[in-house]
Symmetry: C3
Subunit: 388 residues, 3 copies
């Protein structure tokens, strides 16, 4: 019996050692596996980067004669947001220490939200105001993120607010913040300048839209555990297919033809709306959420935007309310019905906090930006760029 005991101890000790190596990742296969998992996260981070620069950047090129400025602004906004978020995180301000790749992804999320926000005021602010907007946006974004996801003020228990792919935290926040900025800084005269697009600006815009569509699954699954990635990405793809088809049908019904702007924008609404629940619903629900989001967004573009227009308020250049605002809120809200065992209280609180934070801080930031001046001519590359 003593022999058996001893051998048991030896076996246990050996297994414990193996287990330790597996757990701590300081060597052995487990260490290598966790390194590979981090590299995989990095690949998703690069997909998100492609969305930020080529995707969001070129989607905004639909404004004829302002495409180059939109692309330069995209470069600057990304280059401001990422280091700013890193700085915040390194100092442990509003949320603590993470792995390097996690931090990079969260910084990219902040940059995505900022680019959405900038879409609302595109062509109405000067280049240095985009930079200033970036610097003011990141702390507000991080503040809201901290309340919703990191238990800030003890309002929502961490992990309770369901928003894996950021329908609320990223999309709705950015869109409503942008509307706030636009409302508080746009002048009457600027409201009346029409936006013109042409064949080439349309094709560039569709290029941006396609880049977003293609890499959206990596955006939603960026921080998801490897085991849950297959179901998550399939959900995102199906939601995008759903919103693309719904946009086609709705655009045809509402305009009699197919609006290129609807396709370039509302086709993405499924990606926005599936964000909250992408890793928690079955494939059929994902497709349905996509169909509803695409319809909602197209109705938004073809009806709500026009309704705003009646009041003479063309405040939202890219229609971010229709593409990111409404589908984002819809995605956060539908989670209450589509996800079993969800804490509805936390979900409602999170959505309300986001709406309040984003609009209020947007209005204030708009006032601050106004102090740095207003553009005389909207939508003109020649005003600030050195062009031939």
């Amino acid at each position: 019996m003593r022999v058996m005991k001893r051998l048991f101890f030896v076996a246990i000790a050996l297994f414990a050692m193996t287990g330790a190596a597996l757990a701590t990742g300081t060597g052995g296969p487990a260490g290598e596996i966790s390194s590979l998992a981090e590299v995989q996260k990095y690949f998703r981070a690069i997909h998100v980067m492609a969305m930020l620069l080529v995707g969001f950047g070129f989607l905004m090129v639909f404004v004829k004669g302002y495409g180059r400025s939109a692309l330069v602004a995209t470069f600057l906004l990304v280059s401001v947001a990422i280091p700013a978020y890193f700085l915040k995180d390194t100092f442990g301000f509003l949320g603590g220490s993470r792995s390097e790749v996690d931090r990079l992804i969260l910084a990219e999320f902040a940059a995505a939200s900022l680019l959405i926000c900038a879409g609302a005021v595109l062509g109405r602010v000067k280049m240095h105001q985009y930079v200033l907007l970036g610097l003011l946006f990141v702390p507000c974004y991080a503040f809201n993120e901290w309340i919703l996801l990191d238990g800030g003020f003890g309002l929502i228990e961490p992990g309770r607010f369901v928003d894996t792919g950021g329908s609320v935290v990223i999309h709705a926040f950015g869109a409503l913040f942008g509307i706030g900025v636009a409302v508080s800084m746009t002048t009457r005269k600027e409201y009346e300048t029409p936006i013109e697009s042409d064949e080439t600006s349309d094709r560039f815009s569709l290029l941006g839209s396609m880049m977003l569509w293609v890499f959206w699954p990596s955006f939603c699954a960026a921080l998801v555990a490897p085991r849950e990635i297959p179901a998550t990405v399939v959900n995102v793809v199906l939601a995008l297919c759903g919103s693309t088809l719904a946009t086609y049908v709705a655009s045809l019904k509402l305009t009699g033809r197919i609006s290129v702007a609807d396709i370039a924008n509302a086709a993405l609404a499924g990606g926005v709306a599936i964000g909250s629940t992408c890793d928690k619903v079955p494939a059929s629900s994902a497709f349905a959420i996509g169909v509803l989001a695409g319809t909602l967004s197209t109705v938004g573009f073809e009806r709500i935007q026009g309704w705003f227009g009646k009041f003479g308020k063309k405040v939202d250049t890219c229609g971010v309310l229709q593409l990111h605002g409404l589908p984002g809120l819809f995605g956060g809200a539908i989670a209450m019905f589509a996800v079993q065992g969800i804490g509805r209280g936390a979900q409602i609180k999170g959505i309300l906090v986001t709406v309040a934070c984003s609009i209020l801080s947007g209005l204030v930031v708009g006032k601050i930006l106004s102090l740095a001046g207003r553009r005389a001519t909207p939508y003109d590359d020649a005003e600030e760029l050195l062009v031939d």
Copy 2:
């Protein structure tokens, strides 16, 4: 001895547990490894998605004045084909249960084949007919795939038909189906409308071509085992280099100059042709297959297409016969000589079945599409799109 036996049982039980964990992937390193392998497959799936939307989409933008319609059609075709294939697969119709990512990749392959098919009738059907085409195409494609790869009707033993990257199943099928559709639904008048391209449409088309070139190795290696991916992707890259160089030489010989359309299209023929054998031949053969395919495709574009033209049959808008049809069949056939121990009977049967299935179903689908009407003006964005 009893003690030893017991200890042996304990040790065996422990190892069995470990082994089970390793094998079933319900925990332990092996589970994590197989999760990571699935995520890697997903990355290849995203590369394929970039080919579908940005690659195929922009390659079709070479038709001046129809680029936006081509891009909208691409969006719709992908959004129809992927859910349709998922639905088929979920119901276990024509081929059984797979992992989620495998299913996604197979659905993307169906979408690729559909986009190739659509290239033949590009600009000659209305938008709702693209949608209808997608719905009718997927079952036909799945039927052929089922016979060739899943042992349908017991005609070909599963695994015997050599076509890893889909030279025959994806490329040749899509191209011949498209020719069938085009022949049975195009009217004399449409035959005579010339296709015009301009500087900008050419550059967009080259963008699409480059996106296809870049991600082609992931297309061919999408479902290949990790261990065999390095050799496979090197083969695909070398085949593409070979066809690009051959296209340059052949285009110069045949036209006296370098045709942008030849470069944008025939340079990809190496990728089409290497599909069948990408994981089975040495690098030197891959390069040679690329050179031959590029030459064949360029001769096709510069001679065969013109020969068709003499009969007044401009049926194949994008020249998919030259880019996907001939190189695809060539790739499937060359496998019989380049791969050791191949079952030539299975290979020949598979090719013949594909030719028959694709042309016949294409002709029938073309008749059905004709019932939904014909376009009066080919190649015009303004007909169906709401453009400024």
Copy 3:
């Protein structure tokens, strides 16, 4: 006791077997892990391929009326360089056997350096001269690489020259080689042809620039061990953010406006300069190196290029000296101060060897290319392409 001993032997033997399987990678988890690591390297290789074709290709489309030729040349240069490097490597000439994916990545690095070189003579050589340039460039590049990294002539101990992402070996070599070619083959008349860009060529150029920016981290980390990739890629992203912001400020200071060409080019200088030290410096240094490189590059574009112009020597079409030459040399040199324990002797020797090799071989190759004729009209798609 005998029982215990026997059991011990059994246990040890079993663990040894497991360990062996883990270590040798001929099966078991370790074999699978190393396969997955190779596949990850392949994903980075594909990112680099996107940079080569879409990135470098479209960045060169800024020359109005020569965009299609630039894209065709990109296709050809890549298709010459990769098989040529493979051939060299397979025959074990100038550096030995590697894994397939390593060889692919090193071949892509050679292609990147060649594309940089071609940027200097863009629009001044005929298409067959691009091919010839590729064939002559690869051996010279491999010779320099062999001396710096593989201990060629015993000049620098392998592993001593710090240049992970190729600031010196890839960027500076390519740029200085290109300047050499341009100086020795450009005629006075060609010097005087101005380069024109327009709205569309600018947008395509910014697309190329964005593709380079997005995938640059994968370029620098292509051959880095998984464990060190997170810190490396964060450094590259921060360096790019730094150079983008610095370019904006410097361009505004030096030109009074924002030059699109500066943004499209100098914003990437951070990526060029961080190459040498990307896996060896803290994040703050990476950002600082980016800021300095962006400033240096913008000053180069706005002042040094003009200074050359005074002497009537418009030799460098794309300004590769400003984007790749100076920031590359700066990146290699700054390593001597930013990296602890670096061998400064090796670093200085490596830089001097590269400068000498590149300029000398570039001058000789320029003379050889001149024998194959000179173009009469620079920058014209219609000269060699079959365009509508």
